[in-house]
Amino acid sequence: MNATDNTPHSKPAIDTSRCLVELRNIRKAFGGVLAVDEVSLNLYPGEVVAVLGHNGAGKSTLMKMLAGAYPIDSGEVLLSGEKVQIRSPSDAQNLGIESIYQTLALADNLDAVANLFLGRELLTRWRTLDDHRMDADARKVFQRLNKNFTNIRIPVRRLSGGQRQVVAISRAIYFNARILIMDEPTAALGPEETAMVGNLIQQLKAEGVGIFLISHDMHDVFALSDRLAVMKNGKRIGTYRTQDVTEDEVLGMIIAGKAPAGKTQTERPAR
């Protein structure tokens, strides 16, 4: 074991026709409650799939299973056509799946650099923390996202919402995520910072990253997503190209759980 354990994995050439993630018949129960009921969902490289639904619809649970935070009761996960076992957050990270959580999974008492590398610290050959290398690398990533972000050595609880979001997103960028799960990424942000996240999503898409976007914000969903999937009571109501449906139809699905008449569902992006 040496420091190279943590070097970001190299990205394969982008092949947008090949399915990046296939979730097949995923089930999850908490006690007697079926939180996710036989849900299947695909994600292609360079695609943003919005996952919508009420609180408790099962969308966050589904995404947390992909991120390794919850074990899957039954069903299969395929990455680029290969069946994988995701038993822990580390498994997911090793497969190139990064998550940005609504609650911003940051350790408030640690600084931005420590949070960027949390769980995947760079080590010296003596197996001690390589603080200076982490500091230097972190500066580069933060610079890319926000030029004004320089107070990276104070506890993140003293940072603004936007800066905290930069730290969370940096985790995905630094470790070259292939698949990104964003849970309400703009919920705590001002307009400028929301725009920053929007730009970033476009940039990552161009690099072939596949993104699952959990959001309540219809504006975000229609501005950013290529397809959208609606869930209710743990079931998938439907998956559509975002351009094929209207906001009202989507709201109808979220609230009433009924698929709009005359619209075709699709498992593939429009390409």
């Binding site: 640690l110 420590a114 197996r127 001690t128 923390l129």
Partner: protein, 396 residues
């Protein structure tokens, strides 16, 4: 002037430590004046240093326990149990002290793993687990030797607790001081070099130099004082007492763990946000078990120092010690809510408490008054802590 202020701000000086050190100095000077020069005499400082060692050793690890959002109320009882066990094995069972200490360590590890597993895997709050332990292991300490005091006589072993033969002598003390000072200087140079390589902004050279010279001055002053203590009927002065040496080594090792290893970083991450720690893939349970393992090692070290200081193991060894240890930790700036605390703070906290206690003892303050004052000092420390966190924006 403004430039200097910016430099100081960037130098990331821990103002809390500066303030606590000032408080310690003020306490010492006030007691020195009131006691007409006795408080700051080498003899008194030597005694304070070695008396603080047991609490100090345990406080270093208590910082980590509390940072990780746990608590250990059973340290005193477990230390009593382990101490009596070691003394019993040496005195009654005729074991060598080395074998007895290893057995003591094994017992401490067994106890810690039991309490740690209940906390980490079963999810029983450590407050409850160790509250039970506080009583149970006090009982165990009684049962080991049937309540009988176990006297110790091995001359080498007794040195570990300090006292008459417990100093390392002047030459060794100066050599140690020189090594430590070189180490501090090298560490600083190394840090500047590494920062330069990676293009990370460095402090101006004079700031770094001052930041090294302060601990160097403290080390040299401490060694000079310990070397000045000459017990009248002995040939040579005492030098640094061995228990203080052990305490210093423990504090250095744990500081290293905190700042330079994943283990230390994960403890702080777990304390800051346990959910986030789990979500980023930190093995929370394994880290918790390792922490309890470290606790077991330090309880054994503290037990060895404590029984050799007492020249005996008794079933009341370490009575109420948990309160002193937690108080030292809290006075040292560790937040009971978890997530923040420093090892050097625990050292200062333990010293502040012991200085106030010893100083009042010198002034013949009654035991009742002493308890009242130390209790209120603890509260004052926490009030300050809350105010300080509000001021810096680190409110918990």
């Amino acid at each position: 002037m403004n430039m200097d202020w910016q430099t100081l701000k960037r130098a990331q000086i821990d103002w809390r430590m500066v303030l606590m050190s000032t408080v310690l100095v003020v306490i010492a000077v006030v007691f020195n004046v009131l006691s007409e020069g006795i408080f700051l005499s080498p003899e008194n400082l030597y005694n304070i240093a070695q008396q603080t060692a047991v609490v100090g050793i345990l406080a270093t690890v208590m910082v980590l326990i509390i940072v990780a959002r746990h608590i250990d109320l059973s340290v005193g009882s477990v230390m009593g149990f382990v101490g009596v066990l070691i003394a019993f094995l040496i005195y009654t069972a005729n074991w060598s002290w080395q074998a007895a200490c290893l057995m003591g360590l094994a017992a401490a590890i067994a106890v810690s793993m039991y309490q740690g597993a209940l906390t980490a895997f079963v999810g029983v709050p450590s407050f409850v687990v160790t509250l039970g332990g506080l009583m149970s292991f006090r009982g165990a300490a009684y049962l080991v030797a049937d309540g009988k005091t176990q006297p110790l006589a091995d001359p080498f072993f007794l040195k570990l607790g300090g006292g008459y033969n417990g100093g390392i002598g002047t030459t060794a003390s100066w050599i140690l001081a020189a090594l430590l000072c070189c180490g501090l200087l090298l560490a600083m140079l190394n840090k500047r070099r590494a920062k330069k390589i990676y293009g990370v902004p460095t402090n101006p050279a004079w700031v770094d130099l001052v930041l090294v010279l302060i601990p160097v001055a403290i080390v040299l002053a401490f060694v000079a004082t310990m070397n000045a203590y000459h017990i009248p009927n002995k040939d040579a002065p005492q030098g640094v007492p061995i228990p203080v040496l052990i305490w210093g080594a423990v504090a250095l090792v744990i500081s290293f763990l905190v700042h330079r290893t994943r283990f230390g970083r994960y403890i702080f991450a777990i304390g800051g946000n346990p959910d986030a720690a789990a979500l980023v893939g930190i093995p929370v349970r394994r880290v918790t078990m390792l922490l309890f393992l470290l606790l077991a090692v330090l309880i054994t070290i503290a037990a060895i120092v404590a029984i050799s200081r007492l020249n005996a193991g008794t079933n009341s060894l370490g009575n109420n010690l948990e309160l002193l240890v937690i108080a030292a930790t809290v006075i040292g700036g560790t937040a009971l809510a978890g997530g923040s605390g420093t090892i050097i703070g625990s050292v200062l906290g333990a010293l502040i408490m012991q200085c106030i206690d010893s100083g009042m003892l010198l002034l013949d303050v009654s035991i009742g008054t002493r308890y009242i004052i130390i209790g209120q000092v603890l509260i004052a420390a926490v009030v300050f802590d809350v105010a300080y966190r509000k001021w810096t924006g680190d409110a918990l």
